[in-house]
Amino acid sequence: MTLNIILFVALILAALWTVISKTLLKAAFGLAVTSVLLTIIMFGLSSPLAAMFELSVCAGLITAVFISAISLAKPLTSEQKIALAKSKFKKYFFLPIIIVVIIFLLRNFKLPADFHSANVLSQTTVNNIFWTERKMDLLGQLVILLAGVFGIVVLFKKGRKNDI
């Protein structure tokens, strides 16, 4: 329980750091730290396979994509940085208030009485679910992956010299 509370506090701090940080690079690192903490939480919730995917893909690949995108884009000018710093506190003033209000509204939310009884697939393994019970959505997933690959090819394709 103590570990859960420590992970909870660390996750919230990392998420807030991601949102509040001034530079985009710090936001990308904050997102990576959030992913690592989420990985540890997933291990604690007995989901090692999803945790492994989260660590390798979200903390690794997505951070690399973010840093490449940030490095390819132009940094802010000094005037823009000053204007951003001035408006920062006004922008994030309401964030804790919104969080407290939502938790206050959900404090009496009760789970249905039969919430624990839906234990139909607990004995099946992830492999069984992936390759026997789910077929159509795996096909959709493959199509989405292919769409991503072709989308990137089209987006980064360089035009010919005589194209305008």
């Binding site: 859960n4 509370i5 909870f8 996750l11 919230i12 998420a15 991601t18 949102v19 985009l24 936001a27 990308a28 997102l31 959030t34 992913s35 989420l38 997933m42 919730l45 007995s46 989901s47 396979l49 999803a50 995917f53 989260e54 893909v57 979200c58 997505i62 994509v65 973010f66 490449s68 995108a69 940030i70 390819l72 884009a73 132009k74 922008k91 994030y92 309401f94 964030l95 919104i98 969080i99 939502i102 938790i103 789970l111 919430f115 624990h116 839906a118 234990n119 607990s122 099946t124 992830v126 069984n128 679910i129 992936f130 789910r134 959505d137 997933q141 989405i144 991503g148 989308g151 987006l155």
Partner: protein, 103 residues
């Protein structure tokens, strides 16, 4: 009141989702909007794993979480490409530039 795992990580899901939504709403930088979307997707992933843990369907929850993570990568890569394309055309990352799209 003793907090259970469900309570602790349920509150974490709410805070992550609010942070993501807030990040999308207050900024005009397109890369920061993408960071907000990432935070929202992380909240959804944690919620699915938590639901699987509570109901005992952890295998199903894991397989759905893996699907979400894969689609998340595709979304991030494509949107990053689109953002760089808009940056090349307008020399700015401001979301206001998307209004200039034609055709």
């Amino acid at each position: 009141m003793i907090f259970s795992t469900l309570h602790i990580f349920g509150i974490a899901v709410i805070i992550l989702a609010v942070c993501g939504l807030y990040c999308i709403l207050v900024t005009r930088n397109m890369i920061r909007v993408l960071v907000g979307v990432e935070l929202l997707i992380k909240a959804v992933t944690l919620l699915i794993i938590l639901a699987g843990y509570v109901t005992g369907n952890i295998s199903l929850a894991q397989s759905i979480a893996i699907t979400i993570i894969i689609i998340e990568v595709v979304v991030v890569v494509i949107v990053a490409g689109v953002i760089l394309g808009i940056f090349k055309a307008n020399d700015s990352l401001d979301v206001i530039n998307i209004r200039n799209l034609k055709g």
